[in-house]
């Protein structure tokens, strides 16, 4: 693997870490499996891209992407809590709707953002080459998101949110509306995912309606990978594990794609298959470990 491919995987790992933090928030904190993210990632890209093409500032367009993501999350939350649709189904419904909405926003299935001033141009420092600058910016964003999330999850609202995923009956008996917590949590999560989408669009120079496929599976794989490496004893560790998991996941993908297995050479289109297998392996390892321990005992 060349140095540039390595830096590329670090860059990807850091930008998608923002998405993984969002997935962590729903999947682990709220215990609300949310597939909306497959639609929110391209939503973030679409909103950012369209606004930039209309001459908006690249930072403000990222903010608007987050707002759009939060709105999408709000819809899923509304379907799940007020209309009592099963959480998984509610998120699939929103995700499906977002496909059409994303094309509406862009006016076509994809946008090229060539010659647009991105945040990377705005933050460019002559002394730092681009291949270092981009990962550094992504590191700052992912680290910032982790920090804000860490602080948030220790406020009263954050405690109520964590409790909602842990023991909803107890949380209701403490006077907190679990419905509201789900609405807030899912919105926040999708805002993060949309931010990741916007950042990806700006760094790659395009937005595509299909770029979100497999987001949730990649997110879950990263969360689970991270937890098995970093542990999940505290909130700080869990958010760190989301970032580490994302890095390791992207790195593993690059490695998998750069080797030939027998006559088979993996291509980027095999990515979803690899990820699916990876998630199954990650999910079953704890169970297998337990069984091994029993046998030894």
């Amino acid at each position: 693997m060349s140095f540039y491919t390595f830096m590329g995987s670090v860059e990807q790992g850091l930008v998608y870490a923002v998405m993984v933090l969002g997935v962590y928030l729903t999947f682990r904190v709220l215990d609300f499996p949310d597939l909306t993210v497959d639609g929110t990632l391209p939503l973030g890209a679409a909103v950012t891209g369209s606004l930039m093409l209309q001459g908006w500032d690249p930072f403000t367009s990222l903010g608007m992407a987050m707002l759009a993501g939060a709105l999408a999350g709000c819809v899923t939350g509304f379907l799940a809590t007020k209309l009592r649709i099963m959480s998984l189904l509610a998120s699939i419904i929103t995700m499906t709707a977002l496909y059409s909405i994303n094309i509406r926003i862009m006016g076509r299935p994809n946008l090229a953002l060539l010659n647009q001033t991105t945040i990377f141009d705005a933050l460019a420092v002559p002394a730092i080459p681009r291949f270092l600058l981009t990962p550094l910016i992504f590191l700052a964003v992912a680290g910032g998101c982790k920090l804000v999330l860490d602080l948030f999850l220790h406020t009263h609202l954050g405690l109520a949110l964590r409790g909602t995923g842990d023991n909803p009956q107890m949380i209701r008996s403490q006077g907190v509306s679990t419905d509201n917590m789900i609405l807030i949590g899912v919105s926040l999560s999708n805002a993060l995912v949309a931010l990741a989408g916007g950042l990806v669009a700006q760094s790659q120079g395009f937005a595509d309606v299909g770029m979100g496929i497999g987001t949730i599976v990649a997110g879950l794989a990263s969360v689970i990978l991270g937890e098995s490496l970093v542990g999940k004893e505290s909130v700080l560790r869990q958010t760190l594990s989301a970032i580490v998991g994302s890095l390791v996941y992207r790195f593993a993908i690059v490695v998998a794609l750069s080797y030939q297995v027998g006559f088979l050479r993996l291509t980027p289109s095999d990515l979803n298959l690899i990820t699916a297998v990876l998630v199954v392996v990650c999910l079953t390892i704890p169970m297998l470990r337990k069984r091994m321990r029993w046998k030894r005992a």
Binding site: H154, T155, L159, R162, R172, Q174, G175
Partner: protein
């Protein structure tokens, strides 16, 4: 304090699984009352508590707390007035959160959770003082996850949490039934102390007749979704286990069928 009028709760109404849990209940709970509730399985004791707490909404009738009609208030809104301890010792706390974080949730009961810091240094001190009263050594483990604690420890914490913010009504749903006898006795003692010291209006469901007789100033016996016996004061003090058994045999028209009723 708590007024219940013509309350009726039917599960799966209109289907073949229809089950009348509460047939018709009228009850006035005075301020400072400590009521023990007994009855066989399926008598409607837990359903009654769930109706008061707002976990279920009744089919008919009304519930008033301090004169306010709360019949259709959602559970989380009513929680501002109600402290609750469940039968399952794991139900009252969040296992993945620390002791102090659980206490912070309880300390904020009935208020909107905002962006204030969850556990301040002052909170930590205050919680520590409270928890010291348990005498379980938990005051040094405030940053431990609750999932690491035993059922008895968790139930003691739940009880303390339910009274952290003075509730207008304390609901105890067989909260010692799942604990081993020595732990159950300890939790029961704590219950009695807390209720006495704070002068709390409380309703305690129990399967243990002796507990029902020893604790509280008023005893209610339920059967088939109705209150079949309601004694208070001097009359309750004279009541014996045998009286209760006789009462049961008489009112049911047959021998006590449920062996759980025979826990003495």
């Amino acid at each position: 304090m708590l007024q219940i009028t013509n309350l009726r709760k039917v599960f799966n109404e209109g289907s073949i699984n229809e089950m009348v849990a509460i047939r018709s209940i009228n009850c006035l709970v005075e301020k400072g009352d400590f009521i023990t509730v007994i009855g066989s399985n399926g008598a409607g004791k837990s359903t009654l508590l769930n109706l008061v707490a707002g976990t279920f909404t009744p089919n008919e009738g009304d519930i008033f707390i301090s004169g306010e009609r709360v019949t259709h208030w959602p559970e989380h809104r009513r929680a501002a007035y109600i402290g609750r301890v469940f039968q399952n010792p794991l139900s009252g706390t969040c296992a993945t959160m620390t002791i102090e974080e659980n206490f912070a949730l309880a300390g904020n009961r009935g208020k909107k959770p905002g962006l204030r810091w969850g556990v301040t240094r002052r909170d930590h001190k205050a919680f520590q003082e409270k928890i010291r009263l348990l005498g379980l050594g938990l005051e040094y483990r405030l940053k431990d996850r609750v999932g690491l604690l035993s059922g008895g420890q968790r139930q003691s914490l739940t009880l303390l949490m339910a009274t952290l913010q003075r509730p207008r009504i304390l609901l105890l749903d067989e909260h010692t039934a799942a604990l081993d006898p020595p732990t159950a006795a300890q939790v029961l003692k704590l219950t009695q102390e807390l209720i006495q010291e704070m002068g709390l209006t409380s309703i305690m469901v129990t399967h243990n007749m002796r507990h029902a007789l020893e604790l509280g100033n008023r005893l209610v016996m339920m059967h088939g979704g109705k209150i079949i016996l309601d004694v208070a004061g001097e009359e309750k003090r004279r009541l014996t286990v045998q009286d209760l058994l006789n009462e049961f045999a008489k009112l049911k028209g047959d021998a006590v069928a449920d062996d759980k009723m025979l826990l003495i």
